[in-house]
């Protein structure tokens, strides 16, 4: 009898309605989309005649036809789609499936509508392939950087030092590459440099219990100072020997590379780009499918619980920080051997912080974090291409677009994010 009584103790609820948070999220998203729709509606009247999109770059061997769209109608259509989607979300009558659909439709409409409007006001076409290529290039370090953060923070070690890891890695990669003339050596050097930085982070965060958030900023300062100092004192005076590394070349993946449009973008990239994509999958698998991942997440959520089942919190955190450093190292290498082969002071120009933002927006999940990196890369690339198209928007404002877009996305679409419970809190036994 007793069993039969305690059995129903697990709450089964009959009624289930939308939670307040969910409602808030739905409404803010809905209104945001409606606003975008209105914006597009207005734009549709000021749009030019045709908006041309080229599917291949000027110098591509295979030239795909370029698409000319009637700007006005297209913008109008996207406006209506947004209004419909937004309205649907606001009304709250959509099923889950439809809600997701509405989101996707709205997203595409905004991009297509805005681009058509912008392109229609220019004599130049909007090069789609270059848009995608640029997105990949810009997103690569962001993806790798945010992965570094994800792994560390899932174990409870906040990593604001991604920028510093980038910087040290970029510097080392350039120097090692220049000395050895070997890309692999440069990459290894980069990873080691990032790992050393991670070691510093671990030492102070895990052993000496320093506040991790601020620690990160200090490490960034140190990295900037150290690389700058060494650059001034050693590298700059004989830069031909120390600062002229070979650069990675694209590796076409056989026939895949010759697929029109996507081929060159997805399958004709440098090893780092492939590594970035693989890393996302690897981290996802590590975190969610392996024993190690389970322990990492446990340590990040409830270290004491992990301790009581015989897991060494400190060991796991160290492992996580160092594993994360690998990705930070690859990301840092991108700035020198992955891109230009030469180091200049503060070459990472804040990408580490963008990566940090991406990982928070991505809710500490490798895949979402990577997507956020892509999102940021996409907007940045779009903005800088629109400069070339010399659109009505002044260049200074176009340059701000990625940052504004991010804030809108965070405030309007993503909202409250929940960090791992023990993120940033040192474990004292």
């Amino acid at each position: 009898m007793s069993a039969s009584i305690s059995a129903p103790a697990e709450v089964v609820t009959h009624v289930h309605l939308e939670s307040p948070d969910a409602r808030r999220a739905r409404l803010s998203t809905g209104w945001l989309i409606v606003a975008a729709g209105v914006g597009l509606l207005v734009a549709s009247f000021s749009a030019g005649v045709t908006a041309t999109f080229t599917l291949s770059d000027a110098f591509d061997t295979v030239q795909l036809p370029s698409v000319a769209l009637p700007a006005g109608p297209v913008v109008l259509l996207t406006a209506l789609l947004c209004l419909a989607a937004g309205g649907g979300l606001v009304s709250g009558r959509l099923s889950r499936g439809w809600r997701r659909a509405a989101g996707v439709i709205a997203g595409l409409s905004v991009v297509v509508g805005f681009l058509s409007w912008a392109a229609s006001s220019s004599t130049l076409p909007f090069p789609v392939s270059n848009q995608l290529a640029g997105t990949v290039a810009l997103a690569t370090p962001l993806m790798l950087g945010s992965l570094a953060g994800v792994v560390g923070e899932r174990a409870g070690v906040v990593n604001v030092a991604i920028e510093g890891q980038f910087l040290n890695a970029a510097f080392t990669a350039a120097v090692v590459g220049s000395l050895t003339r070997s890309i692999p050596a440069a990459l290894i050097g980069a990873v080691l440099a990032a790992a050393l930085t991670g070691l510093l982070l671990g030492l102070f965060a895990i052993k000496y219990l320093v506040d991790q958030v601020v620690l990160g900023v200090v490490i960034n300062l140190l990295a900037s100072g150290l690389t700058g100092f060494l650059f001034d004192q050693l590298v700059q005076p004989n830069s031909t020997a120390l600062n002229a590394s070979p650069i990675m070349t694209a590796i076409p993946l056989g026939p895949l590379a010759s697929i029109p449009l996507v081929g060159p973008i997805l399958f004709d990239q440098t090893i780092l780009v492939y590594l970035a994509v693989i890393s996302v999958a690897v981290v996802w698998f590590l975190l969610y499918k392996t024993r190690w991942g389970l322990r990492v997440r446990a340590v990040g959520e409830h270290p004491r619980a992990a301790d009581t089942v015989g897991i060494s919190v400190t060991a796991v955190r160290w492992q996580a920080v160092l594993v994360g450093s690998i990705f930070a190292g690859l990301g840092g290498a991108f700035f020198t051997v992955g891109s230009t082969g030469t180091f200049v002071k503060d070459i990472t120009v804040g990408n580490g912080f963008i990566a940090l933002a991406a990982l928070i927006m991505g809710r500490w999940h490798p895949v979402y974090a990577a997507l956020m990196g892509l999102f940021f890369g996409f907007v940045t690339q779009m903005a800088s291409q629109l400069q070339t198209l010399s659109t009505p928007v002044p260049s200074q404002f176009l340059l701000l677009l990625p940052y504004v877009a991010t804030i809108i996305a965070v405030a309007g679409l993503i909202g409250r994010t929940r960090a791992p419970a023990a993120d940033g809190t040192p474990y004292i036994k």
Binding site: I5, S6, P8, E10, V11, R297, A306
Partner: protein, 519 residues
């Protein structure tokens, strides 16, 4: 006992210091296979500390641990587990965002790649074997505390340890769940396992203990055999006579102060957990809400306070004023005293001093502030008075509250709330995990509050408490009121009602049951 059994576990002259505070002072403990060994002691007596030493979470400053005749030095729980020791911790050691299955395999995953299917099977067979039903795929954070406790127990059983420590497992269980657990413990004992059982509930001790050791202020102050009457045990624990049944004058119920009508509340995930509830509490009466954890009590309490609860229908009025959608600040100003269920989480700010915590919801009012400025002198005086009045054990009012023992932390919260003149006191599990001495005191204070004409609403899963305090009992099940009954109602009946059985059926079913037991 001079003869040393080959099997068995001895703690010899264990001493554990925190700074210069001696938590365990040369403690001996002898744990034998096939026995349930009860460890009694007031809050802060050193029970958890001693067990944490045994489990390798803390390292002793002196003494030895001998397992099956071999001396052991546990640097961490892993080694203790290897030596066949398992522990159910007082404060749950579960990863909230993991599923039951994940929590169960954590730390003992068979291979480098996690195999959840296998884990589910293991969970199933375990809960089958010990008759502790759990859903392997449920997330811990969605489970009621009672079920979480079951998972915690299954965890300990999973790597079938020979020596099992249960640190206050029953503090969060209903009578039925407690009975189930005791059955499990008996079964384990009969399988020849050795069990250490820590509890503050003497009824349980008498029901199940084979041997009893009592700690006070870190020392072993005596042994007792299971026959010992409860008040004797209580005296041993606290070191003074305790009367366990506080004599409270009958309620002089005045007019209605709290009225709840057609109230429905959704929890943060949007489930309707309080469903069309009506009740009222009068001045000078104590209404106890009895029910299994997770049947809407927490959300009801939150709704009364007005914090992070989502009232979707109905009204709450206090002294005729509608406070349905009032914020905590307003309800507190309106005279609501609130003792949250989870004191660590909602009750106080761990890094704040005792003094600061004692004005946590009043620091804006005179005399503690004038205008923007705090009056630290007034704050300190208030603290000194309350610490003394409520016997909060702390070196100084400047000690961070996070370092108080749960029992003392609980006293702190009640002291804060009761030291205001209240229209309504809402207290959830007011004496959870508190030792009998403190319980006596806290109950008395609550009754005094009632007699000043406040309306008192107590949420409790402990029937002793309900019997001791209630003037009327409201039994809740899945957000509904199953019925309002007299505190005299037999335990078994209340138990059945808490499982959703209406009063009449419960009475009927129970009378049958009682005869059965009669034989």
């Amino acid at each position: 006992m001079p003869d040393k059994p080959t099997r068995g576990l001895q703690l010899r002259e264990i001493t554990k210091k925190f700074g210069d505070f001696v938590a365990n002072d040369v403690v001996d403990l002898d744990i034998r296979p096939g026995e349930i060994h009860c460890l009694l002691g007031e809050n802060g007596a050193g029970k958890s500390t001693l067990m944490n030493v045994l489990y390798g979470l803390l390292q002793p400053d002196g003494g030895q641990i001998v397992v099956d005749g071999v001396e052991q030095h546990f640097a961490n729980p892993r080694q203790a587990m290897a030596a066949g020791i398992g522990m159910v911790h007082q404060h749950f050691m579960l990863v909230e965002v993991f599923t039951v299955a994940e929590n169960l395999i954590l730390g003992r995953e068979p291979g480098p790649v996690v195999d959840l299917r296998a884990a589910r099977v293991k969970v199933a067979e375990l809960s089958e074997r010990y008759n502790l039903p759990v859903n392997p795929d449920a997330f811990i954070e969605d489970l009621p505390v009672g079920v979480q406790q079951r998972v915690e127990i299954l965890k300990a059983l999973a790597n079938d340890a020979e020596y099992l420590i249960f640190d206050e497992p029953t503090a969060v269980l209903t009578p039925q769940e407690t009975d189930d657990l005791m059955d499990v413990m008996k079964k384990l004992r009969d399988d020849g396992k050795a069990i250490v059982f820590i509890t503050h509930k003497l009824r349980e001790v008498r029901a199940i203990a084979d041997r009893i050791t009592v700690l006070r202020r870190g020392r072993v102050v005596g042994y007792a055999d299971p026959g010992t009457p409860e008040n004797k045990l209580a005296e041993l624990m606290v070191g003074r006579a305790v009367d366990l049944q506080i004599s409270k004058p009958p309620a002089a119920a005045g007019d209605v102060r709290l009225r709840v009508e057609g109230l429905s509340v959704a929890d943060p995930n949007g489930s309707v957990v309080v469903d069309d509830l009506d009740f009222e509490v009068r001045a000078g009466e104590i209404l106890c809400v009895a029910g299994v954890q997770g049947n809407g009590q927490s959300e009801l309490a939150d709704a009364l306070l007005g914090s992070n609860a989502d009232v979707i229908a109905g009204t709450i009025s206090l002294d005729g004023v509608d406070i349905t959608h009032a914020r905590p600040r307003e309800t507190i100003a309106a005279g609501l005293g609130f003792v949250p269920e989870d004191r660590q989480h909602d009750g106080f700010v761990g890094s704040f001093t005792v003094a600061e915590n004692l004005v946590l919801n009043r620091f804006r009012d005179r005399p503690f502030a004038n205008g923007l400025a705090l009056d630290l002198k007034a704050v300190a005086e208030n603290a000194t008075a309350l610490v003394d009045q409520y016997d909060i054990r702390t070196e100084s009012i400047a000690k961070p509250a996070g370092q108080l023992s749960g029992g003392n932390a609980q006293k702190l919260v009640l002291a804060r709330e009761l030291s205001r003149d209240l229209a309504l006191l809402v207290a959830s599990q007011p004496t959870r995990g508190v030792d009998v001495g403190a319980i006596e005191f806290l109950h008395r204070r609550i009754v005094e509050e009632r007699d000043t004409g406040a309306a008192v609403l107590i949420f409790s899963t402990e029937l002793e408490e309900v019997e001791a305090l209630a003037d009327r009992v409201l039994v809740m099940y899945r957000g509904h009121a199953v019925g309002v009954v007299d505190p005299g109602t037999p335990r078994e009946v209340l138990g059945l009602m808490m499982a959703g059985v209406p009063y009449n059926e419960a009475i009927a079913g129970n009378s049958g049951g009682r005869e059965a037991e009669g034989e």
